[in-house]
Protein backbone atom coordinates (compact mmCIF):
# COMPACT_ATOMS: atom_id res chain seq x y z
CA UNK A 1 0.00 0.00 0.00
CA UNK A 2 1.19 3.47 -0.82
CA UNK A 3 2.06 5.64 2.16
CA UNK A 4 -0.19 8.44 0.90
CA UNK A 5 -3.15 5.99 0.65
CA UNK A 6 -2.52 4.86 4.22
CA UNK A 7 -2.44 8.48 5.36
CA UNK A 8 -5.68 9.15 3.46
CA UNK A 9 -7.42 6.24 5.23
CA UNK A 10 -6.12 7.40 8.60
CA UNK A 11 -7.28 10.96 7.81
CA UNK A 12 -10.73 9.66 6.84
CA UNK A 13 -11.05 7.95 10.25
CA UNK A 14 -10.04 11.18 11.99
CA UNK A 15 -12.63 13.15 9.97
CA UNK A 16 -15.26 10.58 10.91
CA UNK A 17 -14.30 11.01 14.56
CA UNK A 18 -14.58 14.77 14.18
CA UNK A 19 -18.04 14.63 12.65
CA UNK A 20 -19.28 12.16 15.27
CA UNK A 21 -17.89 14.16 18.20
CA UNK A 22 -20.58 16.46 19.55
CA UNK A 23 -19.29 17.75 22.89
CA UNK A 24 -17.08 20.83 22.88
CA UNK A 25 -14.44 19.35 25.18
CA UNK A 26 -14.05 16.20 23.06
CA UNK A 27 -13.84 18.21 19.84
CA UNK A 28 -11.30 20.52 21.47
CA UNK A 29 -9.09 17.55 22.42
CA UNK A 30 -9.36 16.06 18.90
CA UNK A 31 -8.49 19.48 17.41
CA UNK A 32 -5.38 19.74 19.60
CA UNK A 33 -4.38 16.20 18.61
CA UNK A 34 -4.83 16.98 14.89
CA UNK A 35 -2.80 20.20 15.19
CA UNK A 36 0.00 18.22 16.89
CA UNK A 37 -0.11 15.67 14.04
CA UNK A 38 0.08 18.43 11.41
CA UNK A 39 2.99 20.18 13.18
CA UNK A 40 4.79 16.83 13.57
CA UNK A 41 4.48 16.40 9.82
CA UNK A 42 6.17 19.71 9.10
CA UNK A 43 3.18 22.04 8.85
CA UNK A 44 3.33 25.49 10.40
CA UNK A 45 0.91 26.47 13.13
CA UNK A 46 -0.05 30.10 13.65
CA UNK A 47 -2.11 30.78 16.74
CA UNK A 48 -3.54 34.19 15.83
CA UNK A 49 -5.48 33.24 12.63
CA UNK A 50 -7.01 30.30 14.48
CA UNK A 51 -8.00 32.48 17.44
CA UNK A 52 -9.57 35.02 15.03
CA UNK A 53 -11.46 32.20 13.29
CA UNK A 54 -12.65 30.82 16.63
CA UNK A 55 -13.83 34.20 17.92
CA UNK A 56 -15.47 35.32 14.66
CA UNK A 57 -17.44 32.09 14.12
CA UNK A 58 -18.46 31.96 17.80
CA UNK A 59 -19.76 35.52 17.67
CA UNK A 60 -21.41 35.04 14.27
CA UNK A 61 -23.34 32.21 15.86
CA UNK A 62 -24.69 34.47 18.58
CA UNK A 63 -26.83 36.17 15.89
CA UNK A 64 -29.42 33.52 16.72
CA UNK A 65 -29.80 33.72 20.53
CA UNK A 66 -29.97 30.34 22.23
CA UNK A 67 -29.94 29.41 25.92
CA UNK A 68 -28.77 31.34 28.97
CA UNK A 69 -28.06 35.07 28.46
CA UNK A 70 -24.49 35.70 29.64
CA UNK A 71 -24.42 39.45 29.01
CA UNK A 72 -25.81 42.00 26.57
CA UNK A 73 -24.10 44.45 24.25
CA UNK A 74 -26.80 47.12 24.04
CA UNK A 75 -29.92 45.20 23.07
CA UNK A 76 -27.85 42.36 21.58
CA UNK A 77 -27.84 39.32 23.91
CA UNK A 78 -24.82 36.98 24.08
CA UNK A 79 -26.15 33.54 24.91
CA UNK A 80 -24.22 30.58 26.28
CA UNK A 81 -25.54 27.84 24.02
CA UNK A 82 -25.10 29.93 20.85
CA UNK A 83 -21.53 30.72 21.89
CA UNK A 84 -20.76 27.05 22.66
CA UNK A 85 -22.28 25.94 19.36
CA UNK A 86 -20.25 28.56 17.52
CA UNK A 87 -17.02 27.45 19.21
CA UNK A 88 -17.89 23.85 18.33
CA UNK A 89 -18.31 24.77 14.65
CA UNK A 90 -15.12 26.83 14.65
CA UNK A 91 -13.16 23.92 16.13
CA UNK A 92 -14.59 21.65 13.45
CA UNK A 93 -13.45 24.03 10.73
CA UNK A 94 -9.96 24.43 12.23
CA UNK A 95 -9.67 20.64 12.56
CA UNK A 96 -10.64 20.16 8.91
CA UNK A 97 -7.91 22.57 7.84
CA UNK A 98 -5.27 20.69 9.82
CA UNK A 99 -6.53 17.24 8.80
CA UNK A 100 -6.13 18.30 5.18
CA UNK A 101 -2.59 19.52 5.99
CA UNK A 102 -1.91 16.17 7.64
CA UNK A 103 -3.21 14.16 4.67
CA UNK A 104 -1.43 16.35 2.13
CA UNK A 105 1.89 16.10 3.99
CA UNK A 106 2.21 12.57 2.58
CA UNK A 107 2.23 14.13 -0.93
CA UNK A 108 -1.00 12.42 -1.88
CA UNK A 109 -1.14 11.28 -5.48
CA UNK A 110 -4.47 11.05 -7.23
CA UNK A 111 -4.38 8.50 -10.09
CA UNK A 112 -4.62 9.53 -13.75
CA UNK A 113 -3.62 12.56 -15.78
CA UNK A 114 -5.99 14.91 -13.94
CA UNK A 115 -4.75 13.50 -10.64
CA UNK A 116 -1.15 14.27 -11.63
CA UNK A 117 -2.20 17.82 -12.53
CA UNK A 118 -3.92 18.29 -9.16
CA UNK A 119 -0.87 16.87 -7.34
CA UNK A 120 1.34 19.32 -9.22
CA UNK A 121 -0.95 22.19 -8.21
CA UNK A 122 -0.78 21.11 -4.56
CA UNK A 123 2.99 20.88 -4.83
CA UNK A 124 3.37 24.42 -6.18
CA UNK A 125 0.85 25.79 -3.69
CA UNK A 126 2.71 24.13 -0.82
CA UNK A 127 6.07 25.43 -2.06
CA UNK A 128 4.74 28.97 -2.60
CA UNK A 129 3.13 29.21 0.83
CA UNK A 130 6.16 27.80 2.63
CA UNK A 131 8.58 30.12 0.78
CA UNK A 132 6.38 33.22 0.60
CA UNK A 133 8.47 34.98 3.29
CA UNK A 134 11.48 34.87 0.91
CA UNK A 135 9.70 37.10 -1.58
CA UNK A 136 11.48 40.40 -2.28
CA UNK A 137 9.07 43.12 -1.21
CA UNK A 138 10.63 45.90 -3.32
CA UNK A 139 10.26 44.00 -6.59
CA UNK A 140 6.98 44.23 -8.56
CA UNK A 141 4.74 41.38 -7.37
CA UNK A 142 4.60 39.43 -10.65
CA UNK A 143 8.37 39.54 -11.05
CA UNK A 144 8.86 38.51 -7.41
CA UNK A 145 6.51 35.51 -7.73
CA UNK A 146 8.22 34.59 -11.00
CA UNK A 147 11.64 34.61 -9.35
CA UNK A 148 10.30 32.48 -6.50
CA UNK A 149 8.87 29.92 -8.94
CA UNK A 150 12.12 29.80 -10.92
CA UNK A 151 13.93 29.20 -7.61
CA UNK A 152 11.55 26.35 -6.72
CA UNK A 153 12.01 24.85 -10.17
CA UNK A 154 15.82 24.94 -9.86
CA UNK A 155 15.78 23.59 -6.31
CA UNK A 156 13.53 20.61 -6.93
CA UNK A 157 13.25 18.95 -10.26
CA UNK A 158 9.58 18.00 -10.72
CA UNK A 159 10.41 14.56 -12.06
CA UNK A 160 12.43 13.81 -8.94
CA UNK A 161 9.47 14.78 -6.73
CA UNK A 162 7.13 12.55 -8.72
CA UNK A 163 9.47 9.60 -8.14
CA UNK A 164 9.84 10.13 -4.39
CA UNK A 165 6.05 10.48 -3.97
CA UNK A 166 5.54 6.86 -4.93
CA UNK A 167 6.92 5.46 -1.67
CA UNK A 168 5.20 2.52 -0.05
CA UNK A 169 4.11 2.16 3.57
CA UNK A 170 6.16 -0.09 5.80
CA UNK A 171 4.96 -1.95 8.89
CA UNK A 172 6.09 0.91 11.15
CA UNK A 173 3.93 3.41 9.22
CA UNK A 174 0.85 1.19 9.57
CA UNK A 175 1.45 0.87 13.34
CA UNK A 176 1.86 4.65 13.68
CA UNK A 177 -1.38 5.35 11.77
CA UNK A 178 -3.23 2.73 13.82
CA UNK A 179 -1.91 4.44 16.95
CA UNK A 180 -3.32 7.76 15.72
CA UNK A 181 -6.74 6.19 15.12
CA UNK A 182 -6.64 4.49 18.53
CA UNK A 183 -5.99 7.86 20.21
CA UNK A 184 -9.21 9.19 18.61
CA UNK A 185 -11.09 6.12 19.90
CA UNK A 186 -9.51 6.61 23.34
CA UNK A 187 -10.66 10.25 23.40
CA UNK A 188 -14.19 9.07 22.60
CA UNK A 189 -14.01 6.61 25.50
CA UNK A 190 -12.68 9.29 27.87
CA UNK A 191 -15.56 11.62 27.01
CA UNK A 192 -18.24 8.90 26.90
CA UNK A 193 -21.29 8.86 29.17
CA UNK A 194 -19.95 5.84 31.09
CA UNK A 195 -16.81 7.75 32.05
CA UNK A 196 -19.02 10.66 33.11
CA UNK A 197 -20.92 8.24 35.40
CA UNK A 198 -17.67 7.14 37.04
CA UNK A 199 -15.97 10.54 37.23
CA UNK A 200 -18.71 13.03 38.05
CA UNK A 201 -16.50 16.08 37.31
CA UNK A 202 -16.43 14.99 33.64
CA UNK A 203 -20.16 15.71 33.43
CA UNK A 204 -19.44 19.38 34.20
CA UNK A 205 -17.43 19.76 30.97
CA UNK A 206 -19.25 21.40 28.03
Amino acid sequence: MRFSTLRLISGAFIILGLILSQSLSLRFCITIFIIILAIKNGKKFRLLPNIILLISISFANTLTPNGLVLFSIGSYPITLKALTLGANKALLLISFIYVSHYIMSSKLQIPGKIGALISLQFYYFDQLTSKWHLIEKKRPLIEAIDQLLIGIEEENDINFIKKTDKEYAIKKDIIIELFHISIIILLFLIFSDKTKDIFSFMALLP
Binding site: T64, K89, L92, I142, E143, I145, D146, L149, I150, I158
Partner: protein
Protein backbone atom coordinates in the same frame (compact mmCIF):
# COMPACT_ATOMS: atom_id res chain seq x y z
CA UNK B 1 -11.78 25.22 -14.53
CA UNK B 2 -10.25 22.34 -16.45
CA UNK B 3 -13.67 21.46 -17.90
CA UNK B 4 -14.25 25.08 -19.02
CA UNK B 5 -10.78 25.20 -20.58
CA UNK B 6 -11.21 21.82 -22.31
CA UNK B 7 -14.67 22.65 -23.68
CA UNK B 8 -14.18 26.28 -24.74
CA UNK B 9 -10.40 26.27 -25.49
CA UNK B 10 -9.45 29.76 -26.70
CA UNK B 11 -13.05 31.02 -26.76
CA UNK B 12 -12.95 31.77 -23.05
CA UNK B 13 -10.66 34.27 -21.31
CA UNK B 14 -8.70 33.57 -18.16
CA UNK B 15 -11.17 35.79 -16.32
CA UNK B 16 -13.95 33.46 -17.52
CA UNK B 17 -12.03 30.39 -16.35
CA UNK B 18 -11.36 32.08 -13.00
CA UNK B 19 -15.05 32.99 -12.66
CA UNK B 20 -16.06 29.38 -13.36
CA UNK B 21 -13.56 28.08 -10.80
CA UNK B 22 -14.69 30.57 -8.16
CA UNK B 23 -18.34 29.70 -8.74
CA UNK B 24 -17.67 25.96 -8.42
CA UNK B 25 -15.52 26.51 -5.32
CA UNK B 26 -18.10 28.78 -3.64
CA UNK B 27 -20.97 26.41 -4.35
CA UNK B 28 -18.96 23.48 -2.92
CA UNK B 29 -18.05 25.49 0.19
CA UNK B 30 -21.65 26.58 0.69
CA UNK B 31 -22.80 22.98 0.25
CA UNK B 32 -20.34 21.72 2.89
CA UNK B 33 -21.22 24.65 5.13
CA UNK B 34 -24.93 23.79 4.74
CA UNK B 35 -24.34 20.16 5.72
CA UNK B 36 -21.72 20.48 8.46
CA UNK B 37 -21.25 23.98 9.82
CA UNK B 38 -23.98 26.58 9.60
CA UNK B 39 -27.02 24.56 8.46
CA UNK B 40 -29.90 26.93 7.49
CA UNK B 41 -27.85 30.05 8.32
CA UNK B 42 -25.74 29.31 5.21
CA UNK B 43 -28.40 31.03 3.10
CA UNK B 44 -27.75 34.27 5.01
CA UNK B 45 -24.05 34.37 4.09
CA UNK B 46 -24.50 32.90 0.58
CA UNK B 47 -25.12 36.19 -1.36
CA UNK B 48 -22.14 37.92 0.27
CA UNK B 49 -20.00 34.84 -0.27
CA UNK B 50 -20.95 34.57 -3.97
CA UNK B 51 -20.40 38.29 -4.54
CA UNK B 52 -16.96 38.31 -2.89
CA UNK B 53 -16.07 35.21 -4.93
CA UNK B 54 -17.13 37.01 -8.11
CA UNK B 55 -14.98 40.07 -7.38
CA UNK B 56 -11.92 38.12 -6.23
CA UNK B 57 -12.09 35.77 -9.25
CA UNK B 58 -12.19 38.75 -11.67
CA UNK B 59 -9.12 40.23 -9.94
CA UNK B 60 -7.41 36.82 -10.03
CA UNK B 61 -8.25 36.40 -13.73
CA UNK B 62 -6.73 39.81 -14.54
CA UNK B 63 -3.67 38.89 -12.46
CA UNK B 64 -3.35 35.52 -14.27
CA UNK B 65 -3.45 37.32 -17.64
CA UNK B 66 -0.68 39.68 -16.54
CA UNK B 67 1.39 36.89 -15.01
CA UNK B 68 1.24 34.71 -18.13
CA UNK B 69 2.37 37.62 -20.32
CA UNK B 70 5.29 38.58 -18.09
CA UNK B 71 6.44 35.31 -16.48
CA UNK B 72 9.75 33.75 -17.53
CA UNK B 73 8.94 30.68 -15.42
CA UNK B 74 5.67 30.11 -17.31
CA UNK B 75 7.42 30.51 -20.68
CA UNK B 76 10.07 27.97 -19.62
CA UNK B 77 7.40 25.56 -18.42
CA UNK B 78 5.48 25.89 -21.68
CA UNK B 79 8.72 25.22 -23.56
CA UNK B 80 9.21 22.02 -21.53
CA UNK B 81 5.54 21.15 -22.19
CA UNK B 82 4.92 20.15 -18.54
Amino acid sequence: MLIIYTVFKDNVSRIGISLGGAFASTITQLFISRIILFKEATYVIAPLFLFSGLISSIILGIFANEFIHKSIWYAQLKGKNV
